[in-house]
């Protein structure tokens, strides 16, 4: 069971069980505050029956014209609570909001090596739009897949036609 509700500042004090996962980045306070302030509806958290936080999604809406899109910045679920459909549900929620805001598509970046996530997004209807070289800075740098899913406003699904060549981070729009 998953009680979903909007993320609150105080949740930052008890999300460690989710964030100690190596795929999940812990950002500085201002990064979260920016999302909480600008796109509160895109920041949802899931609670277990005992009140523990077990997963969250953080995203935003951005772009102009036909690139008006929902974006997933972070999605993570506590190990113990995985494979219960929580991530799928959070993604569906974000898509629903983006539909209401009349976005053309939803997109996200994921490390190419993050097989579980890439597979999951694929299951949820996302496809690789392009590969971004050295998107993740680190040791070593890593490429990202820019994955997308068209929403109903993009009737011809133009937004998801894959690019033939990888791009560099500085060429992202």
């Amino acid at each position: 069971m998953t009680n979903i509700r909007p993320f609150r500042c105080e949740d930052l004090f008890k999300y460690n069980n989710i964030n100690l996962d190596p795929w999940t980045e812990t950002y500085g306070l201002s990064f979260y505050l920016q999302y909480i302030g600008h796109w509160p509806e895109y920041f949802q958290v899931v609670e277990a029956p005992n009140g523990q936080l077990v997963g969250y999604i953080m995203g935003k809406i951005e772009g102009t014209g036909e690139s008006w899109r929902g974006h997933v910045t972070a999605l993570s679920v506590d190990h113990v609570y995985r494979r219960l459909g929580i991530a799928a549900k959070l993604m569906r929620g974000l898509e629903e909001i983006s539909e209401k805001k009349e976005a053309y598509f939803v997109d996200l970046f994921v490390r190419v090596s993050n097989k579980v996530a890439v597979d999951m997004y694929t299951r949820l209807g996302y496809s690789v739009y392009r590969r971004v070289i050295d998107y993740y800075i680190g040791d070593p740098d890593e490429d990202a897949y820019d994955m997308r899913k068209a929403l109903s406003r993009d009737k011809l699904k133009k937004s998801i036609i894959p690019l033939p060549h990888p791009v560099r981070p500085e060429d992202l729009d």
Binding site: M1, T2, E10, N16, N17, N19, G37, E41, Q52, V80
Partner: protein
């Protein structure tokens, strides 16, 4: 035009400042001012450069000069804002903008900046005025709602609740209403603010009206949250029928939201209660049809029990066999409803038949839940949640476990053949743990169980194929259970068991390098045995940063200090201190930006966040430890001590404010606890820690303050020289250097009295050393500290200082050497303990003592330096006053000198002995002791491969040795440094 021109000329100064080259910036500014002596912005930038060069008073003069001229251009004002912020005088930013705005009253930008300046200092009333002035100037909705928000903030921060809610809130509400009536409301944010005000007024009727009326068009219903909100409003306004229907429809859209079911059945009970009250005149016994609402709840739940998951696959027709739902909410809700009905059935006979429509008994419901969800890792926590919520006696839990075994066979005896079977088995094991079946076992049986769990782990490694380093090994929870079974006092003290446990955990991390549960367990164990080099290695691997410093830093910070890893601790603490300071600034910036984007609902939240960080008890500890560590690590001589005092950026006054409002932000729930006894004890330890830590902070604060005041009053003259000599160190307005003017010896004496009295109260307090369960907080450092008389040494020297300084030297000055005896006896104790400690655990305790005595020595040397200073002054004076030369006084002074020098000599001997003790520290008997690795005799697929076992064993002992040696060498070098310091004090 002019601006562009100016900007080009200012650029070089800005660049220098940005690059940290303040000296050059100063030169550039002077150059520019030579040509244009009235260039305001250049003046301010000069001030900023001076400020950064530590020439605070010069900077201050420049700023005051410009402030008087009342600048109105953006550049100058912004530069002034930076200066004032660095001086911690945000109030003056507001002043500057206020004046500017008066001079140029139609300048919208200026007024907006003024509003934001008030936001930064939290002057809500002025915010309100300014926003209204802005609205008069330009009829923008945002200005009007800024004003309303400012009124709201006045209301919620007003200590006078009555007046706040009555007047301020109703003012805010009326202001909103005016706009609504005039149909001027434009955005969601504005409506939300209105609702927020009504919410504070508890005017739920009005909120309902608003969410049903025309305003609702501005409120989107993302994820059904508007409807959810309404459902709760119906509850609050006692419209139970509507609430019931709304929760029911919410479930239709979100089958897995347990909250909705819980509300639904609670509302059903309410509705029926109301019905009974209506019928109560007729004394009929309610029949089944008298429970129509509960019946409907049962129906609703049943509807969702067996549905398949909506397929998340894209289009592919699922031809797999019917899989069960992974939505647990309806199942949990069913159990909850059953348990609730059962608990209430005594007073409501009609519930019996309802119960029977749900299930024959509760055991069946639980076993069914196990069958359906036992293979999900989360299911154990569902069970424990339910057992706890309904206060299930242990015996009932055991019956459920037995029933599960009847259905699934003897689970523990079979090797799982699939991943799901393995998870089911793990859930079963955890249930047993929860029921207390393992804790009551005899040692022998427990060892057998552990051996079995090890086999199961070995066996189940096969399920973790193709894993990435980031994945957890599926059978890891076996190891966690083993560690929990072993983590008790007698095992930690038994080297063989301890090492076996370490081997099991370390080995499992090799196969599953990201599993933070094992890391947490290891951190706590290594901490417990004083091997914080090892714990820190795992702590580092968890990449803990930002806010986690506040919530998880406790895992390592105390331990590093307790075992003398001072340099590592210093790095961590500096980092943490930086984090707290930066956040304080960041949250202010966000407050401003939230007003700008109209994110009103989040403003209160962010204020609370700011407060929560500011009041964090960890923040105070960090600041105090930062200062103590500077005294330990940096001060090599009286001069370097003076330097440290002048430059250290710790605001002791701030720490003193609101001692009792401190908050404990630590995340203790990060440990996955498997039974309620452990979590209760852990909670008790947490509370105890918090109480004790407050005392610790108070004691340390008082001590440091006494030292600072003592130093300032003794060293005034010398320091003035130091300062005028053009010391370029930055003196922050909060630093000690800025305060020394105010200090005199009587205030030192007052502080010393306070300190002494406070310590006396602490001495009567019982010492709390309960460190188990390890998967939770450990006792505060104060408990280890008070075990020995470290503080008496410090107090006695402080008192000696007082006596020496206050005496006119006309009579012989009494000299109390007893602190030397205490020091000697503590050192002797430690030296003996170090030799006889025959477990890692005991060794760890000795290292704690060692660290404390070294810290005490550091304080002692500094304080002896004070005595030295005081006596030196006497000597100088007596030489100056040759005429009035009094032989008696001279003799008394030389008496002090002699006593003092003798004390230094004796202390020197003590320290030399301590050094030799450290040199002789020999760990071989611990490191090389054989380990009984048949202890948990198992089949030995993975763990018990002798070579793997031995190599891991070796790895661990060498890590341990390194950590212990590091403690010794850090303490050694600290003592050596302080010995030189000590010897320089000879008179």
């Amino acid at each position: 035009m002019i601006n562009l021109f100016n900007e080009r000329r200012l650029r070089p100064i800005y660049d220098c400042l940005d690059n940290g080259n303040s000296k050059k910036a100063l030169q550039e500014a002077d150059k520019l001012l030579k040509k244009h002596k009235d260039f305001q912005c250049a003046k301010v930038l000069k001030g900023l450069a001076l400020l950064r060069l530590g020439q605070t008073s010069k900077a201050w003069n420049v700023l005051q000069e410009v402030q008087k001229e009342v600048p109105t251009d953006d550049c100058t004002l912004q530069a002034m804002a930076i200066c004032y912020r660095e001086l911690n005088r945000s109030d003056l930013i507001a002043d500057a903008y206020e004046n500017a705005s008066k001079k140029d009253p139609t300048n919208e930008d200026l007024m907006v900046a003024l509003f934001m300046a008030y936001v930064k200092i939290g002057n809500f009333k002025k915010q309100q005025q300014t926003a209204l002035n802005l609205y008069k100037l330009k009829q923008k909705n945002s200005y009007y709602f800024w004003a309303i928000m400012s009124v709201y903030m006045q209301a919620i921060t007003n200590p006078d609740k009555e007046m706040a809610s009555k007047m301020l809130l109703s003012l805010a509400q009326k202001m909103c209403k005016k706009f609504i009536d005039e149909d001027k409301v434009e955005s969601e944010a504005e409506v939300e603010l209105y609702l927020m005000i009504l919410e504070k007024q508890e005017n739920f009727e009005e909120i309902l009206k608003a969410t049903d009326g025309p305003l609702a068009r501005l409120l989107p219903n993302y994820l059904d949250f508007l409807r959810r909100r309404k459902a709760y409003l119906y509850l609050k306004t006692s419209r139970y029928q509507e609430a019931f229907e709304t929760f029911r429809s919410l479930i239709d859209n979100n089958v897995d939201q347990l909250e909705y079911y819980q509300q639904l059945y609670e509302v059903a009970f309410k509705l029926e209660q109301l019905a009974i009250n209506v019928h109560s005149s007729a004394d009929q016994v309610p029949k089944n049809e008298d429970n129509p609402f509960i019946f409907k709840v049962i129906e609703t739940i049943s509807k969702y029990l067996y549905i398949k998951n909506e397929s998340s696959s894209n289009g592919k027709q699922s031809s797999k066999k019917i899989s069960h739902s992974k939505y647990r909410a309806p199942y949990i809700a069913r159990i909850e409803l059953y348990e609730t009905l059962k608990a209430r059935c005594e007073n409501h006979p009609s519930y019996h038949s309802l119960l029977s429509t749900i299930s024959v008994d509760s055991i069946k419901l639980y076993t069914q839940f196990f069958t359906l969800f036992g293979h999900k890792d989360a299911s154990f926590f569902d069970f424990s949640y339910l057992f706890t919520k309904f206060n299930k006696p242990k015996a009932d839990v055991c019956s459920i476990i037995d029933a599960i075994e009847v259905i699934h066979g003897p689970l523990l005896d079979k090797e799982p053949t699939t991943l799901n079977e393995m998870y089911r088995l793990l859930c079963f094991i955890k249930l047993n743990y929860f029921a207390g079946r393992y804790s009551s076992m005899e040692d022998f049986d427990k060892q057998k169980l552990i051996a079995r769990l090890l086999d199961l782990y070995d066996h189940s490694i096969q399920f973790g194929v193709d894993l990435l380093p980031s994945d957890f090994q599926p059978p890891d929870p076996f190891v966690l259970v083993i560690s929990y079974l072993l983590l008790n006092e007698s095992n930690i003290k038994d080297n063989s068991k301890l090492l076996n446990l370490l081997i099991i955990l370390e080995r499992s991390l090799k196969k599953s390098p990201s599993n933070y549960n094992s890391k947490l367990a290891l951190i706590k164990i290594y901490n417990a045995i004083g091997a914080c080099g090892c714990s820190n290695q795992w702590f580092e691997s968890m990449d803990i940063k930002h806010l986690q410093i506040d919530t998880l830093g406790y895992l390592i910070s105390d331990a590093l200090l307790l075992c003398g890893h001072f340099s590592t601790a210093c790095k961590k603490i500096t980092n943490a201190s930086r984090f707290y300071c930066a956040n304080y600034k960041d949250t202010f910036d966000f407050l401003v930006s939230f007003y700008k984007i109209g994110s009103f609902t989040k403003i209160e939240e962010i204020m609370k966040l700011k407060e929560r960080l500011n009041l964090s008890i960890n923040y105070s500890s960090v600041e105090l430890d930062k200062m103590v560590l500077a005294l330990i690590l940096v001060t090599k001589s009286p001069d370097s001590f003076a330097q440290t005092m002048m430059t250290i950026d710790v605001d002791l006054d701030k720490i003193e404010n609101g001692f009792d409002d401190r908050l404990d932000n630590r995340d203790v729930a990060i440990f996955r606890v498997l039974d309620n006894e452990t979590s209760e004890q852990s909670e008790k330890n947490r509370e105890k820690w918090f109480d004790d830590q407050l005392k610790w902070i108070k004691l340390r604060h008082l001590l440091l303050k006494t030292i600072v005041v003592g130093f300032c009053s003794l060293a005034k003259l010398e320091l003035k020289d130091l300062n005028n000599a053009g010391s370029s160190e930055m003196i922050n307005s909060n630093s000690i250097g800025a305060k020394f003017e105010e200090s005199d010896f009587p205030s030192f004496t007052k502080n010393l009295e306070k300190l002494t009295a406070y310590y006396e109260t602490l001495k009567t307090k019982p010492i709390y050393l309960e460190m188990f369960p390890l998967q939770g907080p450990q006792p505060s450092r104060i408990n280890y500290y008070l075990q020995k008389d470290y503080f008496d040494i410090i107090l006695k020297i402080l008192n000696q200082l007082k006596v020496v300084h206050e005496s006119s030297k006309e009579k012989a000055v009494s000299w109390d050497d007893s602190w030397l005896n205490i020091l000697q006896s503590i050192i002797n104790d430690i030296s003996v303990s170090l030799k006889v400690s025959n477990s890692f655990f005991e060794l760890g305790k000795v290292l704690n003592d060692l660290s404390f005595i070294v810290e005490t020595i550091c304080f002692a040397v500094i304080l002896l330096g004070f005595i030295n200073l005081s006596v030196k002054k006497d000597l100088q004076e007596s030489k100056k006053n040759k005429k009035k030369r009094n032989l008696e006084v001279l003799a008394n002074i030389s008496g002090i000198v002699e006593n003092f020098n003798n004390a230094l000599n004796e202390m020197n001997t003590c320290l030399a002995f301590l050094l030799s003790t450290l040199d002789e520290m020999n760990l071989n008997h611990l490191i090389n002791a054989p380990v009984d690795y048949d202890m948990f005799k198992s089949k030995g697929i993975f763990f018990q491969q002798p070579d793997v076992y031995h190599s891991t064993h070796k790895e661990i002992t060498s890590k341990l040795e390194q950590s212990y040696k590091k403690t010794a060498s850090q303490l050694h070098s600290t003592i050596s440094m302080k010995m030189k310091y000590l010897n320089s004090l000879k008179l």
